[in-house]
Chain length 193, copies 2
Amino acid sequence: MSTAEPPMRADAQRNRAAILEAATSALTADPRASMVDIARQAGVGRVTLYGHFPSRTELVDAVFAHNMRRAEAHLGAVDLTGDPRTALERLVSSSWREIADSHGVLEAAEQELGGDRVRAHHDDTLHRVRALLARGQAAGAFRDDVSADWLTSCAFAVLHLAAAEIRAGRLTEPQAPGVVSTTVLAIVDRPGR
Amino acid sequence: MSTAEPPMRADAQRNRAAILEAATSALTADPRASMVDIARQAGVGRVTLYGHFPSRTELVDAVFAHNMRRAEAHLGAVDLTGDPRTALERLVSSSWREIADSHGVLEAAEQELGGDRVRAHHDDTLHRVRALLARGQAAGAFRDDVSADWLTSCAFAVLHLAAAEIRAGRLTEPQAPGVVSTTVLAIVDRPGR
DNA sequence: ACTAACCCGAACATCGCTGTACGAGTTAGG
DNA sequence: CCTAACTCGTACAGCGATGTTCGGGTTAGT
């Protein structure tokens, strides 16, 4: 069943990587960046671009998947055991920046692939956070009068909000981590006492 | 300096209103709705549409402004005096639905007009909420280790998040108000005790 | 009843983007 | 060194959107 593909030539691999990289940066700057923009920024002909990715949709999909794998690898290294509160704090402080930067690619993916496909790629990362929050609920550290799913969504929303505020100049880079983790903890913390 | 415009004819006024209405609903359904879509939905010729609004940008601007005035009128009727917590609860419960519905128009406006212009239209509503939160901070009811601006942004973000979750089918209409107000209060509440 | 304001469909001119086709040049790798 | 893989620019076809123009038909208001 293996599709028996002959290995890509070295320059082709390099170009493919350059495209992925350039697309990431172009879409980050402007989620509606066109194929022309991306090709130019990758230092590659438009035709070559289409040679690697037959349509814009497939390009965006590949870029998004690529970035999610990278984030996944980074996030996977964070220790989530022990006290749920401090674990959550570790997670937030070591990932907020990366998630914030991914905003442009995420938006492009939502436009081009639709929310469901995005959700599918997001799944692993989402589950990791959700599991931590659910564990905190079970341990009595986090509030359980709302669902773990809702808490998860809120946490991500706060991260993205912080990113937007920084882009708009209403929040500075240095103060962001503090504000974000304060807010996230406020959301998940059990109220009584 | 008055531009001395002769009053519009009655049918022109009706059409203008119909366009504003149709555009609101079209953009709510799909923020990228085209002029053709909007004209059709308004039961009006494309040319007539351009007669009233010379460009898509001006249309979106007018629609957005129109909706903000409507929301403003509604929001302005809410009593924000007394205990800040219950005042905030009143505000949230009487406005969350309206704000949630405005999502499509808001997104269209952001695409077409840019964040700054959007901000300008938003200003009054934003300030009303911000004033309440600042008052709560001064009274010692709300946390003041983060800025009132940040709290304001968070509150709106939670409302929009809830709307998105409903659209995605991960939250039901009936449970939304409770979850939203719980979360907003959790964010603004003073932590100590 | 008359006139100016308004509406309408159809056609036209651009623009930007996507995707494909061709032909010739360059490079990796055995 | 030789071939297959890869790249490049250019050109073309198609789509969908935005605005504009024109000429004839309706309708409001005095």
